[in-house]
Symmetry: C2
Subunit: 314 residues, 2 copies
């Protein structure tokens, strides 16, 4: 029954390819040292390689199925992050619903009556729309760890402050990438028609063609299964057509506004740490005996950023 | 509510880049003609651009939730395809179960008691294991439509006989790619330990590191939602640990063995057709007004192969 149980992340330490921005050649590289599994790499992580999820920068989407924990990305979408927090604090989302579940694409929530002024939920302190925050200048304030394995959609990809990201040195711009679990703001046809009142999460193969078309402002760090396993909606583009089938949102809360005992305390591996660099190497070519072919490369959205329960007192 | 409704496939006809095997440059290309939407491209398709799904090459996985239609790939995995058909015809799968649902990875089915000789379902006409069919020689018997947009995992990717595939002209080998919906044979640590009695379907971001590590023998052409929305299992690697939670398989049947009225009649767009080439172009940069940024590229697993109900008498 467990034939594929060994299909896990393993190390095959390859010479560091950090900083390679071109699509690399196809010659095989020789591992210079004994390969480690990702579990072994993580076991060797130092306490300071982990950072605590900041409760001021975390929201909880509470569904009947369970809690979805979302880390936000203020370095990339400061106005959207502030607005989603403002909306959460005025309880704007409470009682609204998941209105779209499109297979291999997105789950989306918002106000089912958003386009009916008579029925639409009123926004008090937040803003209904904002200018798009699709990209931002490259800057020293964002640590960027290049992946170096090439990418179809961007000149360079890597990890920025815990998030999968891309950059273009020629234009001096960087942006977040639509990998599995990334959270963005829905919008209409114009760049300034979103704002965070209607949001989506990627639940399928990375729709990277949405990069620089939408404001991504966070990623799910726990609870993806509460979104990805929802029944697929039958309407066009996965919108739910029967009101009785909307999936209710109990609430969206800023973690800092809950009592400590009610929070989900998590730690994220720092993506600018040596441990994370070794973890990427470990995913390029897995040394576990199950893997018979070793590609020696890994694609951006196939590198999950490790999350664990907070370890107290270490 | 329908803010993101226009997030659809659109054309932005770019000069043909078929045959480009290197990672292309980043200079913007200028569309030489009026862009078409994918719907417009498909509307212009000729009858001969579509092929009927061959019932001798199609299996139905029947779940309580509905039917999953799988087209098989005998050009890539002839022995596995023959064996799965043999197993289906001896009703080997009937009453077995989905035993694994791993988020962002795979759904897997087989015999929950496969490793207990006393309880394991007996295989009569099929074979319990086969040599792996991980890749095959490049050959004139397989039409290959190169994508030309680069790839992280292979020197060249494209479409072969309806399936996402990759090839390496240097070694003269080609293989199927682990995109969303692809169906493969689970195996143990050795290449010859699978065979089709235990199978998996990709339900998340393409795990392309499995390419050339497993035998892919088909893809789901209808009914993915019956697999992708299953509740995620809590055990290690997504294996279901409580027998009561196994998801029963009613049956797996070869379509040709059913009465015509019981079959799901589908047509697949030929991936070596001019229409499919234009469809790829349409996905590179979508001309619909919703899209504000146009990458000009598309990644292999972001190009679905169109499927439609069979049109009779046309």
């Amino acid at each position: 029954m467990k034939k594929m149980q060994k299909m896990l992340v393993i190390t095959f330490c390859i010479a560091c390819v950090l900083g390679m921005t071109a699509f690399p050649g196809w010659a095989k590289e020789v591992p210079p040292q004994k390969p480690l599994t990702t579990a072994e790499v993580l076991a060797e992580a130092r306490t300071e390689d982990w950072r605590t999820l900041d409760p001021q920068n975390t929201i909880y989407l509470e569904l009947n199925g369970g809690r979805v924990v979302i880390e936000m990305a203020p370095l990339f979408a400061p106005r959207h992050v502030a607005n989603v927090k403002a909306l959460a604090r005025e309880k704007y989302f409470d009682g609204l619903a998941i209105i779209r579940v499109q297979d291999n694409y997105v789950v989306q929530w918002g106000d089912p009556h958003a386009e009916d002024p008579a029925k639409a939920r009123k926004i008090v302190n937040g803003k209904p729309t904002l200018p798009g925050e699709f990209d931002r200048p490259c800057g020293d304030d964002v640590p960027f760890t290049p992946l170096g394995d090439g990418d179809v959609y961007a000149p360079e990809v890597g990890f920025a402050d815990g998030f999968p990201a891309a950059r273009d040195k020629a234009s001096g711009r960087m942006w977040l990438a639509h990998c599995y679990g990334m959270v963005g703001a829905g919008r209409g046809d114009t760049a300034d028609s979103g704002g965070g009142a209607e949001d989506y999460v990627v639940i399928g193969h990375a729709p990277r063609h949405l990069d620089r078309n939408c404001t991504l402002f966070g990623r799910v760090v726990q609870g993806m299964e509460h979104l990805s396993s929802l029944p697929r909606a039958g309407g066009p583009m996965g919108f739910i057509e029967k009101p009785g089938q909307f999936i209710p949102i109990r609430s969206i809360r800023v973690a800092a506004d809950l009592l400590p005992a009610e929070r989900t305390e998590l730690e994220i591996l720092r993506t600018d740490s040596e441990t994370f660099r070794r973890l990427i190497e470990a995913r390029r070519s897995r040394s576990e005996p199950w893997f018979l072919f070793h590609p020696g490369r890994v694609e951006l959205c196939n590198v999950p950023v490790p999350v664990r329960k907070k370890e107290w007192g270490k």
